[in-house]
Amino acid sequence: MYAFNYHRPSTVQEALLLLKSAEDGKLMAGGQTLIPTLKQRLAQPSDVIDLGRIKELVGITEDGDAVVVGGMTTHGAVATSPLVEARIPGLAALAHLIGDPQVRHRGTIGGSLANNDPSSDYPGAVLALDATIVTDRRKIAADDFFEGMFDTALEEDELITSVRFPVPAKSAYRKFPNPASRYAMAGAMVAVTVGGVRVAITGAGPCGYRWTEAEQALEGGLDPAAIDGLTVAADDLNSDIHASAAYRANLVKVMTKRAVEALA
């Protein structure tokens, strides 16, 4: 790991000021991606600004018809939150499938979304549940947030303070995990929301996306067979040592059908 200056702010304001004054600063949430990246010398920030002691960013609350998850809330906290389990059990179940218990104890929702790893799980929930990403300066709709591989609508100096999930009628996530890393080789989250059925795919393409053909196919009812007739083009999907694009295209259908089966 290259050397860096370390800062531990206690407020969002302080964190943003530190980031602004650093030559090449990097915000660190749970560190479960950043620290391995630094260890491999794939990044060389001048300053690491640790968000781990900012209390205002941690916690899960209910606000009207939504569950609001603070940006520095860990996957473990989401997975075991009685509030999330009661209001959006599909979200708790998704968080429970991220990494392993120790990674879930450190990794955070804000860090995961800001990093936007193509094989991360949370984009499925954010897109399917039509969540809103709340930052220090604005609110970003889920459909506008994910822009590409490791690329989001966030500005360089923008910080996720919370994620607001409207409570759906029901939702379910199914993924095919990489057997070693547990990252999603393809994952599908299907939700029945006030705006209709939403289907979000993660792990398969450069970033999470909505599968609108599947949404239309499910408008007539939550029947897994409705997915059978759809074709998933492999052209824009990821191909690596774990799976070819064609294999991922098939997984997209299989995982979506399993998620629909879980809801039916």
Binding site: M1, A3, I35, P36, K39, D50
Partner: protein
């Protein structure tokens, strides 16, 4: 260099480390607590699992400076004098180790499981151990040891031994 103060196994310590020093290196090199192992160094194998403020974490994926003010327990902090912690005793009784390299992480992870879930099912034990790799035992005896430590009936293995 940064001064970092925290508690390890009940004792207050201060270490002088660079910000880039990993917590596992501070434990092993600055404090001589070599029971916490470094296996894969890529957050996957779980040999470095410790407890920070009562929760299991991977010490190879944390900076030492992040531990400021926290209470850490390592494998060295479990036994009371000569008396093994019940989880350690169960691993010995059920032959839950061969080479022993993964064992400190396995035990720290297993102790945390029982804190969350005092009576886990066999499936819950196996799922909890997703972040701990053992290349010797095939896991069966580790699972049996954890069942025994939880006071549960020790099941026959799910697969052939």
């Amino acid at each position: 260099m940064s001064e970092v103060s925290f508690k390890v196994n009940g004792s207050a310590v201060t270490v002088d480390v660079e910000p880039r020093t990993l917590l596992v290196d501070a434990l092993r090199q600055n404090l001589g607590l070599t029971g916490t192992h470094v296996g894969c160094d890529t957050s996957q194998c779980g040999c470095c699992v410790i407890h920070m403020d009562g929760t299991s974490v991977k010490a190879c994926t944390m900076l030492a400076v992040q531990a400021e003010g926290s209470a850490i327990t390592t494998i060295e902090g479990l036994a009371q004098g000569d008396e093994l912690h019940p989880m350690q005793a169960a691993f010995r009784d059920h032959h839950g180790l061969q080479c022993g390299f993964c064992t400190p992480g396995m035990i720290m992870s297993a102790v945390d499981l029982l804190q969350h879930n005092p009576k886990p099912t066999e499936r819950e034990i196996r799922e909890w151990l997703e972040g701990n790799l053992c290349r010797c035992t095939g896991y069966h005896n580790i699972v049996k040891a954890i069942q025994a430590a939880a006071g549960s009936a020790v099941s026959s293995p799910m697969a052939a031994e």
